[in-house]
């Protein structure tokens, strides 16, 4: 791996792949760094080496990602797999580890395309073995063809219905689908539907999954207001509340999903400013319409800046690369703007559907701010909602100060699974907007880094 490059792209999902290919096609030296063993990110995971049976189960869209992976392979991009980026400085220095060895690399421009993760879903019992994210079930299916037994699908959002539908097609007996979409969301989203109808294909597809599920004989409950997962050492049953009444169903696995949120850790630690998005209830990077951040020479593209979906992410990757090419002197402004035009069209076409989906599937407050005080918020350090509320009552004003009271956010996941919940709880307790409460101050290393690897850097030039 070279120690200097024109453009470094971090993350090989749709945005990262598109950015890398665009940059390389216009003559920049490009280094693409990604943690996984193959390109594709999460949505197109393992598409290049797909071993499971074909589109009947996974769907045709998944295989479209393969085209982008092929273009990447054919380009001059230096794609380094198994590369964990743990540092980006405000001087465009990148700290990355590959095969147990850490290196420091410099780039003239960095495009952060770290994509999304699933929103945490803190309910009582969510830490039991057998409880996983719906996306985790997707990864198991795509990468290994593994299907979990007798699942209960809990939550809201297209990805939940997609994986439930994939399980249906694969013939797996489903314990139940428990839909937590607040009933009020539908009324509010209806107003956004007409504009979204340009992307009608996507909507029909989603309705098709729901229809199949509901007519398949699978237990399908809507308007679920509360969830408890029970079991001794493993998830055994799920209790759910509808219209004030509790019901129960047994299960062997529980798959949770309430949307995806940007992976912000790397961008935040690099110093990029973020602001709270009320529409998506997560942190958005402060970027211009080329994805350029508040740190010089750093752009953020794709879901990592704010959730946009795979097609838009691909377009944004291209736009970020075009802007980077201009900034490093490979393209003029007119050239940049001309190539950008079709990408901007894709963005504007997709936006109405995105707004509709955001509104329709916005997670209910009780699933973002757990009411049950015993619910674990910080999984790594086993800190409950009650402890966080107690800290606020003792004077804690924000997530950084919380470190004086509890170890929430100080475990190996570095706040990825608890950060949003912590900020939401503190905001709720203090009656202040999340924007004011803020996020915990993140710093390098943004993935745990072995001391020996760090030490070895001292010997390198």
């Amino acid at each position: 791996m070279k120690s200097r490059t024109d453009i470094a792209v971090i993350g090989a999902g749709p945005a990262g792949m598109a950015a890398a290919v665009m940059a390389a096609d216009h003559g920049a030296s490009v280094l693409l760094l990604d943690e996984q063993a193959a390109a594709g990110g999460q949505i197109y995971r393992a598409v290049g080496s797909q071993k499971a049976t074909g589109s009947a189960i996974l769907g045709t869209e998944y295989y479209q990602g393969g085209a982008l992976v092929d273009r990447l392979a054919a380009s001059t991009v230096e794609h380094v797999t198994g590369a964990t980026v743990w540092h980006v400085s405000d001087q465009r220095e990148i700290g990355v580890s590959v095969d147990g060895a850490a290196e420091l690399i410099n780039a003239d421009h960095i495009i952060i395309a770290t994509g999304a993760q699933e929103r945490p879903f803190p309910v009582p019992g969510w830490t039991l073995p057998g409880v996983m994210n719906a996306g985790a079930a997707q990864i198991l299916l795509k990468s290994s063809g593994v299907l979990l037994p007798y699942p209960v699908f809990v939550g809201t959002g297209p990805l939940l219905y997609l994986i439930a539908h994939q399980y249906l097609r694969a013939g797996v007996p489903i314990a139940a689908v428990l839909d937590t979409t607040p009933r009020s969301n539908l009324c509010q989203a209806l107003g956004l539907l007409p504009a979204a109808f340009r992307e009608a294909g996507q909507i029909w597809k989603g309705l098709g999954w729901l229809k199949d599920l509901r007519t398949s004989g699978t237990t399908f409950k809507t308007g679920v207001e509360d969830i408890r997962i029970n079991g001794a050492d493993h998830a055994e049953s799920v209790e759910y509340k509808i219209a004030g009444h509790w019901h129960s169903c047994s299960a062997e696995s529980v798959l949770l999903h309430q949307g995806v949120v940007p992976n912000v850790n790397l961008a935040m630690a690099a110093g990029c400013k973020h602001h709270w998005s009320d529409a998506q209830l997560c942190w958005h990077a402060q970027v211009d319409d080329w994805g350029y951040s508040t740190v010089e020479g750093v752009s953020i593209a794709g879901d990592g800046a704010g959730i946009v979906g795979a097609d838009s992410a691909q377009a944004l990757g291209g736009l970020a690369a075009l802007d980077a090419l201009y900034r490093i002197g490979k393209l003029s402004i007119p050239e940049r703007d001309k190539i950008a035009m079709p990408l901007r069209k894709i963005m504007s076409r997709q936006q109405p559907l995105r707004r509709f989906l955001d509104r329709l599937y916005q997670p209910a407050e009780q699933f973002r701010i757990p009411a049950d005080p015993a619910t674990l918020v910080c999984r790594c350090e086993e800190v409950s909602a009650a402890e966080i509320r107690e800290a606020v009552s003792l004077g804690c004003q924000g997530p950084n100060q919380l470190k004086s009271f509890t170890r929430a956010g100080m475990g190996p996941c570095q706040g990825r699974l608890c950060g949003l919940t912590v900020s939401a709880i503190i905001a709720d307790e203090l009656g202040r907007p999340v924007q004011d409460i803020g996020a915990a101050r993140l710093r390098s290393p943004v993935k745990p880094l072995e001391l020996g690897q760090l030490a070895a850097l001292a010997d390198k030039e």
């Binding site: 049976t53 830490t127 073995p129 990468s143 999984r379 350090e381």
Partner: protein, 97 residues
């Protein structure tokens, strides 16, 4: 646990908690353990609670196991290798020279 039949591919076997597990080449350790019916990968340092994978994408750090004597390995990020020795991690990482 079931698996979708795949194109013919190489079998890989490894050890976990005294058992031999049959996996397929390309499986992550986590996928292989789940496919073999193992849900619990570790117990937590604070509450000694059983945990298994949540996210399968390297974000949650709940799928930590010991691989060939080295703890704190994210099972979802490591590919199975023939003869690997995997063990559940109990509590905190044990540092050793």
């Amino acid at each position: 646990m079931s698996r979708i039949p795949r194109k013919p591919c190489t079998n890989v076997s490894f050890r976990f908690a005294g058992e031999t597990i049959e996996a397929q080449e390309g499986d992550s350790v986590a996928a292989a353990l789940l496919a073999a019916g193992h849900w619990t990968f570790r117990t937590t340092p604070v509450g000694v609670a059983p945990r298994g994978p949540l996210c399968m994408m390297g974000v949650c750090f709940d799928c930590l196991v010991e691989i060939d004597g080295m703890g704190n390995q994210q099972a979802c990020m490591r590919e199975v290798k023939e003869g690997m020795n995997v063990a559940p991690q109990s509590g905190a990482f044990e540092a050793a020279p």
